[in-house]
Subunit: 430 residues, 4 copies
């Protein structure tokens, strides 16, 4: 039995303590936990626990679970986990490992994904994305349902328990737009297909005369292929993504970070020179990266640059585990599409229409959370979203991770993130 966790690594030993999985030793044994998502009542719970005498070792919201387990009076031991989770609000897909049990929990809204697979030897595996199952030759069995607790042990196999179920799940639409690897099946849908269709919709609803379709790699590639196929225009590798990038971000200075962006994306002049270019990206957050990409393409000789975004405009900050900046910093919250186009400097700009997205999802549409597009939050965040040192994950080129990759990272917002090694590191969280 083992659990693991992939997140943005933090620099310096002082922050090492924030690295999951977290482990706590109790009188009756040890428990480890890994958490994907973000709790909205963390501060309230922590204050209550500290009043009772609990001592916190980290600044991560995940630690409250370990203390809630410690004060729980439930028996047997694994029921303490259930007891603890019932007090949590917000987004949490969690796996626990005890001395003899593996426990997987998904919050009642099912904000973040969590799937169960099985290896040929019978071993049960939980993961955020199905692509992790493929790698270890486990067969995808089913999703952990929203509000479900699965307890696995040698004696009884897999048992299902219920937390507080909710009538309507609210699954994160951003998994399909940016987070998940394209070869994953998330919330029962192929991510590759979703993105290809996003591109096709853009080609249909925002057509433009052009010579070549290119992508902002890697997250824009599948939508760009969809656009090119629908538009009947050749797709080319107009921007090459360097594999050196992550390392650059270890360097702290602005100058080196600017160089990092250059390293990250190199234009191919032969593809772009003298052409009318459609460039497809997954989303726009602050808008600064997009503007630099447009400049890069124009400097390589492009005659026209038309930007197509495979998601609706983002107007609201996320409280459920996507590390968006505050609403004021979101460019779509401040500007009209035409103003954004002007800011970015492209010749035309179009977003995926929100209603087309919902129409495409059809009967599943109600099961998704669109808070970042609509501002309507399924679970109201009771605590103020505080801007912290670590919250520099955005689409600006001045942050350690920029929206060339969409600018979104998974993971608890409460963590002090100081750098990140590789953008794909956080693609598969548990």
């Amino acid at each position: 039995m083992a659990i693991g966790h992939v997140r943005y690594s933090t620099a310096g030993s002082s922050m090492l303590k924030n690295v999951q999985p977290f482990v706590a030793g109790y009188r009756f044994g040890s428990v480890g936990v890994a958490h994907n998502g973000n709790l909205v009542n963390y501060r309230t719970l922590r204050a209550m626990l500290e009043d009772n005498g609990s001592i916190f070792n980290t600044s991560s919201d995940t630690e409250v679970v370990l203390h809630l387990i410690a004060i729980s009076k439930a028996r047997p031991f694994f029921l303490r986990i259930v007891d603890a989770c019932e007090k949590l609000e917000g987004a949490y897909s969690m796996v626990f490992v005890t001395e003899d049990k593996l426990v997987a929990v998904r919050d009642p809204y099912g904000f973040r994904p969590l799937v169960m697979g099985r290896r040929t030897n019978g071993a049960v595996v939980f993961a955020s994305e199905t692509c992790a199952l493929d790698l270890i030759e486990a067969t995808y069995e089913r999703e952990v349902n929203p509000g479900e607790v699965l307890v696995v042990d040698k004696k009884d196999g897999v048992q299902s328990l219920c937390l507080l179920p909710h009538p309507e799940p609210k699954q994160c639409i951003f998994e399909h737009i940016y987070f998940a690897l394209p070869n994953s099946v998330v919330f029962g849908r192929s991510v590759y297909e979703s993105r290809h269709v996003f591109g096709e919709i853009l080609a249909t609803e925002a057509p433009v005369d052009c010579d070549v379709v290119i992508a902002v790699p890697d997250s824009g590639v599948v939508a760009a292929l969809g656009y090119a196929a629908k538009a009947g225009v050749p797709f080319q590798q107009g921007l090459i993504r360097s594999h050196y990038v992550g390392r650059t971000f270890i360097e702290p200075s602005q100058k080196i970070r600017d160089f990092g962006v250059k390293l990250k994306l190199s234009p191919v002049r032969g593809v772009l020179d003298g052409k009318r270019v459609v460039v497809v990206d997954d989303s726009i957050v602050r808008g600064t990266t997009s503007s630099k990409i447009v400049r890069l393409i124009k400097e390589a000789g492009a005659k026209e640059v038309h930007m197509r975004i495979a998601s609706p405009p983002i107007i609201g900050s996320c409280y459920y585990g996507v590390d968006t900046p505050s609403a004021e910093e979101l460019i779509s919250n401040r500007m009209s599409v035409e103003e954004i186009r002007e800011f970015i400097g492209c010749d035309s700009l179009a977003f995926l229409p929100f209603d087309s997205l919902q129409k495409m999802l059809a009967s599943d549409s109600q099961k998704f959370c669109y808070a970042c597009f609509s501002g309507k939050y399924p679970v109201m965040p009771k605590e103020v979203k505080v801007k912290k040192v670590g919250d520099f994950l955005d689409d600006g080129l001045n942050g350690p991770m920029d929206s060339i990759d969409g600018g979104w990272v998974r993971g608890p917002k409460n963590i002090d993130v100081e750098k990140e090694i590789d953008p794909l590191y956080q693609q598969s969280k548990i």
Copy 2:
């Protein structure tokens, strides 16, 4: 003034001494050197130098240059470098840094590339590929000519000297097939265009009915786009390359390496299931990787798999800096195309015809070295090519680097290579 070198990193501190640049301290000052290529008379030179009393610190062929400088009687100091280089045979693009000069040297055949650029502040820059110039905003000026020595200092700027010029250059064709980044201009030609044309030729000369064209990423992508465009069949991301891979190879055991290959390439079932698939790769070395890729695609549901290789069959080992296995290990040296097809398990297989390649290069064709395709060596290797511990860089899945990336790495064969971090690390050598 500074020089650097990108190579496969070696494991263990004992091998750290083989990491370039090498530096030697002389009575009159220190000299550093970085070397791309491979000397064919290294053993002879080393024996001669050791007889004279030189003590070698590394097992790299590059070190002989430092000793040749030490025993040279030429004056002033930088002429010792010229004196030393005149004794070398084989492939060498080298940069030296002395107390006050930067010296760039390219062997008379010009096997390996070497370009000169200039920054807006006047700084002179040398690099293997033009993409390195782009990154630091230096403008490409020209190639260092075969047999040319360029000496740069503050006082006299750039001066050109001549080694022994050769009537006909023999530039490595493999730079266009595999090594160089597609956004580079190498030997005066766009690498992106070369590869796109390779794909187009394959579509014309080895057409097949199919539903989708995919690439073995990253080195097969541009040729696959060329194939798809010419064939009028959609290109899709059927194999996704993971960014975790390099690290896996640090692990020594076979079991973990097998897992590494799985991590490296993930099939996208939605793209492949039930389809007739053309998969384009840059080359085949031992053939073992290709066979695993075909299996991977078939397991994802492909009805047919047609492999197209964007280079002619490789029948000869390279002595000029490409780390090919010995001739006996090359599958094209032992089998016919039909036998290889059977071994690999694909439904059809075609290579880029050698004469089509030469025809495409037109008047430049004579300026290239095709020894690996023809077995005709421009400079005869006088020393036996010894199989060493480090020579495990091949296309087999059982080596630390496999031909998913083409199986070729740059760099002096004499180096004890124990692992490599990332295949792209050696793309830009100096």
Copy 3:
């Protein structure tokens, strides 16, 4: 403001967490603590705290104090420290540092020393021994009294509070026998003088014809000088202590440890050959080291070896911070003096008579704890003394620290001690 702690270092990062000072973050700020001594009700307190939901991070008894502070309802903050200490039983000299205060506490029996000094700039300093004050040019002011709490801050200077005072202190006699550096003043007495007198008493009460007096360095030197002076026999350096020793103990194997003992003490043949030798040591614990020392001296040619021990026989294990083995392992608990002499192989053996020791201490005699000599414990240990992995600190040559240095180390018994670097490291604890 700062606190520090000197203890036996532990091997491996896993045990790093047991290294003091410990720090805890509370809602109202952080507190650090360093502890000299050993609690006898640690297990009871820990069980109570864990029932309440506290999560322990270490296996050290010191951590209970941090949790007792967390659950205390006392205000202001520093009164929580007093509140917590009132629940402790056993030996504790502790220093705490909060955001704005330094707090020093000594248990009601005053088992372990704790002194206060002042630098010329007015800075207040606490330490276990006065020699630490000398080093930083602080002037010794007074002892922290048994049961006293001293609170130091910028606003109010030094304030004295009371815990539960006890009519009669029970100060550890072993500080004078082994622990303290000879240049310290401990419990108001010069350690050098105490040891010199111990040697003089031995010369008076257990005289023997001899040619030379030598010491087991370093802890037996002062008593040996006292013996030699009283006996009128020359003192010589018959055993030389190597400074390499500590490091040797990092090596785990028995073979290397044996070599370590040889390295530690080297005989001087010129001093010992053909002589009747008196060798003075501070104490005997298990007896194995003493027997090896006698053999070492005889192999260097000594005609007779007379061992004189500057403490009474140890028959009881310590529960207050001296890491003695269990009673069954103490040689004086199992054998008569004559049996010990035979086991050790010396020609005569004498211990410091218990009543002479008490007589010498005169009116102060009642203020000392003699539990290890008498078996009478001032505070009854309620919990079983469990033999743990770390408890290998003894006088055997097969342990990482042997009684060449007296075999005693300070510090909480509950700590998993895996090695120790240098015997003097634990001489000055806080």
Copy 4:
């Protein structure tokens, strides 16, 4: 077969390359070498070798031997070692290890010691001092003679060859005064006895009324015992040497180094207060440490401080492996004894009379080098002694090693010494 070397460790990885043993790989195998002593013709040899094309990796004089071996035409291989050594001038006790032989060489003057021992299993061992043999239970057999080469291998056992023998050896007197451990036999004499006699001579020739005799530990202890015995005055531990010291010197700043000196020697007030004190040290170099020691003793209450030095005044710098400062910096070269006494601040000062030293050595007297006392050099140093960064090993408290330990360290002067871990580390060189 193995060789090792103990020297002052150097800080920083850049200087790691200067750490012995040095190893060189030749065509016919590898050779390792460790060297005690200092060559006086190093610069001449290095210039000659560099002219021939040798590339030096270190700034140590020892490296010339490896290059001389490389250019030697002698056969078989071990005769190259003899050939190389014949070109050396100055002090060298060296051990070499080849693929199948151990070779020990001592220069014709025998400046530095080198002894041979044998273990019970027949293994032959070479070492600087006999105490190293004791530690590994090897029996001392004999000295390696001045000018002798001993070759040990499995087939032929031990063979003796001759370099250029010299009629009169010139063994370093400083081995008996400071370097060697007291339990060693060096140049056939017991070091302990030499030092005890030095102290007795001082008591006879420079008597003074006093209450107590103390030593500057550790190197002054035996002479102090000799003084006390002869004078009939009690010896006491008036200064205690801390074991923390070495580590302090890792810290670079002056402030921390001053604290280091304080840590190193702690006065025992009870021994010194109100007393007339004789303090015995082994030597005086620059005089600054002595002055601080006198101040330390007076501040602890001493009424009078009489300093007795167990060596004659040092007036000349050493060229044979003792790292003395230049003649101008030697206090005895600039001042009379009375001036030194005044500078140091003691009430009386006496050195060991040079003629008494010679008389005591009797018939062996001619076999010693006294250049540092007389200025008469057996081998004239042809090269200027250059003051280098590393040459801060002196008796001042402002250097990383001060003469509390005599201020002398063994080892090649050419090495860049940046710190030293523990004064005893260099006591046994090979």
